[in-house]
Amino acid sequence: MNHKPDYDVAVVGGGNAALCAAISARRAGARVIVLERAPRDFRGGNSRHTRNFRCLHTTPGQYLAGTYTEDEFLSDLRSVNGGAIDETLAQLAIQRSGTCPEWMAREGVRFQAALHGTLQLGRTNLFFLGGGKALMNSYYASAERLGIDVRYEADVSDLRLSGGRFESLDVQGGGRVTTIRAASVVIASGGFEANLDWLRQVWGNAADNFIVRGTPYNTGVPLKRMLDAGAQSVGEARECHAIAVDARAPRFDGGIVTRLDCLPFGIVVNALGQRFYDEGEDVWPKRYAIWGKLIARQPEQIAYSIIDAKSAYAFMPSVFPPIVANSIAELADVLTLPRAALEATVDAFNCAVRPGTLNLSTLDDCHTEGLNPNKTHWAQRLDTPPFWAYPLRPGITFTYLGLKIDERTRVLMSDGQPTANVYAAGEVMAGNILLRGYLAGFGMTIGTVFGRIAGEEAARHAT
């Protein structure tokens, strides 16, 4: 059994990392197939919901203000992680991120200045014109021009390895199973955030109250197959990028419009009507990514952001209307929260607010004293009706449990030895660099940088 393989490189997945790998491999001369599980209309994985890319740059550019140095980037990354990350891979991601915009532009990607309401990212993040779906459209168009085979609704159900070497994979689709042999394979199939059973194994019944912000197609099957085949895992199964989203969001694919930017403007209470975390801890969106996991730990995984009329129009509008009431008691009734508890929480908060000068663009001196927890910035009394509330749920974006890789993106087996021809890029290996926190736009950096490396390495191995 030593047939010539069907392809030089098989890419499992159809998002940013997958297409960067496929295009790089094809440009290096390989015959490439992309196996995208979603139908064409929903192609692109979670990348279709993204909008920017965190990027090193040492001079100001057309769309990037100022500079963003390697040191600053690395220190931002360390600060959100709060622990030891793979420094070699982290530095590789950061250094190579600076070379990506030019490469992306060559593949037809267009950029734009930072969006209104996200100006704080204008120095560190490069925005895609039209967002991530437009980016993916450019990549797919480029892939078609280059002669890459793209199969949609191609569900990779099995991956066969023998002695640390990839042999073939099975694709389910249209009611039959096809076996595809390739000289090398790139796993770029994302995390397991859309696999509700797997989430339940990790989070228990709490997972039933999670909202999956992105694609329903990321069920982590290729990741699971690789772990079963003896690949070394990286990251904790509970760790993920999760934010607070509107509880009325659809179960899957609600994307950007279900996020709420109003949390720092008021208080956040749980189902008992009590505050549970400092809403003014740090500048939004730096601390934006902690709220998903905070709410996941609250009873019934629900919380409510409450603001008053002073802040009603101070934040990005949300897709769902606020729940409005003329008094805190009335609001408690509408939200079915214990009325006395909510009133007590708001009264205690209002009494604890110290006078200060509100400044939303910096860590100002408006804070509370004597509460547990205190609100350390932007604390304003909730005293001007009508009062607005938004119900919040944990909105899971992607999981960090993944495949351990080396700097050539080769997947490592549990004995620490690299596989001969299995490469990984994107969410499926993000856990090498992200332990717990998240930096806006860094997922796309990981996907682009390691996608390109994986494509080049896979092509070099195959051809």
Partner: protein
């Protein structure tokens, strides 16, 4: 007025857009909607007339159908736009006549006017049916009759357009004072069709298909139309000021202007009609199709009959051609305030408003 159901659908789409904003650098619609928190019927009307109906925001949309949010900005705004033409038309009865099937209405009007003109020229049947080769236009229809008829119709049409434009401007909260810089920017945007290539490349008409043709065919149509108007105006001045009567030489200004304008009106409408066929149908609203076809068809006919009249003015066919050409021009004039032409009026007003606001 916009139907409630359409207002609700428009509000849904724009609310999602306002919470997303990924498209804000494609065209003015998005920065304009970001200035609003809620969307009333008047906001929809304004934004719909600001939209140039390209496809960028549909293809870039993570919530486009078949996503359950079903966001399709170009389509819902096309529907609002078509409705807004009808609801601002004056007198309203004539606006309603164009609803649904502008094509058939235009055709009926055309036949009616041809018959009418033939009836008028029956006073001198030999001048109509067997012209003597002298190209004596006024022998077919006397100059005074022509001036009276077209003068009266033009006056009516101009009033109807002014009233429609005023109603639109008042409803969308236009206001009066605008700096000359902003006014100029709006005019520049309209004349250059800036927002069909505003983000550096031509806007898409299908997924990842970006071609300049829609813009160029529109330029042919619009500037062709202007040249024809200029030709008529120059001819009117020749006649009344200098006493130089038609027919004019091929090398004369009215003929040069009219012939080049006529050429634009051959190429432009044909090209635009052809592009409609290849365009992604999910970008358009069905009812606006009839409006487009009727207007393009009439423009094309104006040009064909006008050029035929120019070439055959010394033949026996001149009388019939003149009657038909004048009929077409009369119908196009009469339908200006109710057909697709008004998009130009409301687009320019919407651009004025946009630049005033920004």
């Amino acid at each position: 007025m916009l139907p409630d159901d359409l207002v609700r659908r428009g509000q849904h789409v724009l609310t999602v857009c306002n919470a997303c904003r990924y498209c804000e650098q494609y065209c003015p619609v998005f920065p304009a909607l970001e200035k609003r928190r809620t969307f009333e019927a008047v906001d929809l009307t304004y934004l719909a007339n600001l939209c140039h109906n390209c496809g960028e925001c549909l293809y870039a949309c993570q919530f486009a159908p078949p996503h359950e949010f079903g966001i399709n900005v170009p389509k819902v705004l096309a529907e609002v736009r078509t409705r807004s033409y009808e609801s601002h038309a004056w007198p309203p009865t004539l606006g309603r006549a164009f609803r649904g099937d502008a094509f058939r209405t235009s055709l009926a009007a055309l036949i009616l006017v041809v018959l009418l003109l033939l009836l008028v020229s029956m006073a001198r049947p030999e001048a109509v049916w067997s012209s003597d080769g002298s190209a004596d236009f006024y022998g077919v229809i006397p100059h005074a009759a022509m001036v009276a008829l077209f003068g009266a119709v033009s006056l009516f049409v101009l009033s109807a357009l002014l009233i429609s434009g005023w109603r639109f401007w008042r409803e969308t909260g236009g206001g009066f004072v605008a700096s000359s810089g902003r006014t100029w920017r709006a005019i520049r945007d309209a004349l250059s069709l800036r927002h069909l290539h505003g983000s550096g490349l031509d806007c898409s008409s299908n997924l990842e298909v970006r071609l300049p043709w829609r813009r160029w065919f529109h330029h042919c149509t619009f500037y062709g139309f202007l040249l024809c108007m200029a030709s008529t105006t120059v001819a009117a001045i020749y006649h009344s000021v200098f006493g130089w009567h038609a027919p004019y030489e091929y090398s004369s200004l009215p003929v040069l202007l009219g012939a080049s304008g006529g050429f634009g009106l051959l190429v432009g409408p044909l090209g635009l009609a052809a592009l409609r066929q290849t365009r992604d149908p999910s970008l358009s609203h069905e009812e606006s199709g009839g409006l487009d076809t009727a207007f393009l068809g009439l423009l094309f006919l104006t040009s064909v009959t006008g050029l035929a009249l120019l070439v055959l003015r010394h033949s026996a066919l001149m009388g019939v051609l003149l009657v038909v050409h004048l009929a077409v021009v009369l119908v196009i004039l009469l339908t200006l305030p109710y057909g697709k032409f008004v998009h130009a009026l409301y687009r320019v007003l919407a651009l004025f408003k946009y630049h005033r606001e920004s």
